[in-house]
Amino acid sequence: MSFALWIPLAIPALLALLSLLSRSPALRRLSPVASSVAVLGSGLLLVSAALADQVPTLGGGLLRADALSAYMLTVVGAVGLVSTWGGLGHDSTVPARFAGSYDALISVFLAAMSLAVLADNIGLMWAAVEATTIATAFLVGHHRTPRSLEAAWKYVILGSVGVAIALLGIVLIYAASRGTGAATLSWLVLSQADLPLDPALIRAGGALAVLGFATKAGLAPMHSWLPDAHSQAPAPVSGLMSGVLLAVALYAILRIQTITDAVIGPDFLRIMLSVGGLLSLFVAAALLIRQRDFKRMLAYSSIEHMGMMAVGAAIGAAALPAVLLYVLGHGLTKATLFVLSGRILEVEGTPKIDAVRALLVRRPGLAVPWLIAMAALIGFPPFSIFFSEVGIIVAGFSAGMGAVVGIALVLLLVIFASLTRLTVAMTIGAPGAAAPAAVAPAAVAPAAAPTGVVPVVDAGASVTLADAEPHPDVPLVPDRSAHGPMLPLILALATTAVVAFIAEPVGTLLTRAAEVLGGIQ
């Protein structure tokens, strides 16, 4: 079974090379999808191995797939597949010169994320997480506008500094392990309960490492890169970052928590994660109330969900299966929404919520999946996010963290109301309301021409652009096209809708993965 550890690293790397060298656009554009399939396939293989009580290892134990790693690899593959496959219709705006590197970087990103979850070594995992910063930097700055440049600069500086702090923490954990005779960075060895690790060093190292990875996970107060990067990156990349990158950063936090809990008890990180989680929920609630941009809305919703997952991690053992289910549900839902947001942005030409009205009447092909996915995100049953949130809240009350969970619940209600209002504003309403916004470009073009500054070509371009849009005053023909592949989105939403009801094997897998982290004995 250990070949399944190679596949998610080697195949995406090869495909990245292929998309750089290939002259065929079709081959190039399919390569990230193929990478995702490779990761998902080996993830499922490793899950089946984990359910059969096997733990495949490779490279002298450097790579190791226990139930948790196998589950996370499956999440990476599944979210990757939804984002890349759903994003196939999207990259028509990509300048041809950079198209090859775009697809190659997505494959590199997937390979690095796979390495991060499969490595049984904190240092190697660190290097893989930092490698994703490198892969996504150019993806965030892909559109080459001043805004995307700003987002990319902030992302790289904050991401690298955050991850550098995590490295300092890892160095201290490594120094602590010197006391045991053989210095090691292996998860497996370090999370053994009876290891004589220096408590002071583990405390400082754990705190710094969690702080660093929390930056990468988008937890407040280190979240400021997240809305900028998510709103400026191409939609499939936003989906990947939100569903995969944040999840893997959370995975790193969970692993480090196992080490510190064994040495200094759970209280220390519990406080840190509770504060970070509640602060994230608060920031998301405060900034969602008056949000005007639908991609930023999705980004703040990611901060909210990461905050809730951090609260779950703070509660500990009893909440861990719910947190892990949350990672999958949030990843799939958010990837779907980002893919749809990219399509809406492309056909409507604006990221403003005010300018996108009555979508349900005008473009039901996009509005219907958007509404269903938003319902899943907000936390309606039968979608799995509902069950995860309920699971975390119930576990919190029974673990004696009623105050934290109570505050989280209030903030969740505020976010629920804001997101519902914004979604209704975008989708429901009479199409007449959209008329002024759509007419505006046509009105601007003649007005600009007499000033003489604007070249004639520019005015002509604006007019043809306005003509291409269906004019709202003409009897309206609803646009039923989904503007891209629909199947991945349907599959993603169907999966999140049913996954919470499958006790075997999903329930068993989640329990085993939580056991790896010292949950449910």
Partner: protein
């Protein structure tokens, strides 16, 4: 012979590291900072080599060569190319030199206080010098926060990274070689990426001041 001068060599190397960090805070010229960064890279490599000779491990000597090539030569070279290519832009930091140097002194004291609690369990000459690494991390933060030019922020990031490497080598003799390779490669790539972005910034805005990056907000 070597064991007698070993503490002095460690002191010399870490002293150079701290001195170059403080000088970087003092100097406002980008080129001077890059030269200091190169000196710092050499000092770090020397520190690693001294530890390697003391412990008699070939792997650590290899790491020293790697550090020399990446931090002493490659990174300063990349940065210097970026700076030579343009008109020399001197830094106008948010803090005046006196206040900045005072802050450096306070940060150094702070890191000694923190380290005395943290590293109580580790003996040895090298562990006693470890607070210098922490001080460098904090000075790196100071540079990141107070500088306005893209290039100077980059230097702040690299001082931060050098500080982490110093802590790693002084407390545990460094991480395994393959990890050091991965970490060095990552840092090198981050710098190259930021260098590319700084170039784009110049072609879009005409300069590399970070303060103009405030279009995105809520």
């Amino acid at each position: 012979m070597f064991t007698t001068i070993y503490p002095q060599l460690i002191g010399l190397c870490t002293g150079t590291l701290l001195l170059t960090s403080a000088l970087m805070v003092w100097r406002h010229s980008l080129l001077a900072s890059i030269r200091l960064l190169s000196v710092q890279g050499f000092a770090l490599a020397a520190l690693v080599a001294v530890i390697g000779v003391e412990e008699g491990e070939v792997e650590v000597i290899l790491v020293a060569v790697l550090v020399l090539l990446v931090k002493g030569v490659a990174l300063p070279w990349v940065l210097a190319r970026e700076t030579h290519a343009t008109t020399r832009t001197d830094e106008a930091p948010r803090l005046n030199p006196t206040a900045a140097l005072l802050t450096v002194a306070l940060l150094t004291i702070l890191s000694y206080v923190v380290a005395s609690r943290l590293l109580a369990g580790i003996d040895g000459v090298s562990a006693h010098a470890a607070p210098i690494g922490l001080a460098m991390v904090l000075i790196g933060f100071l540079l990141l926060v107070t500088r306005r030019q893209a290039g100077s922020q980059l230097i702040g990031f690299l001082v931060l990274d050098n500080g982490i490497a110093t802590v790693a080598f002084l407390t545990s003799g460094g991480v395994p070689l393959f990890l050091e390779l991965g970490i060095s490669l990552d840092v090198l790539l981050v710098v190259v990426i930021l260098y590319v972005f700084a170039g784009r910034m110049r072609s879009k805005f005409g300069n590399t001041e970070i303060d103009q990056l405030r279009k995105l907000h809520d």
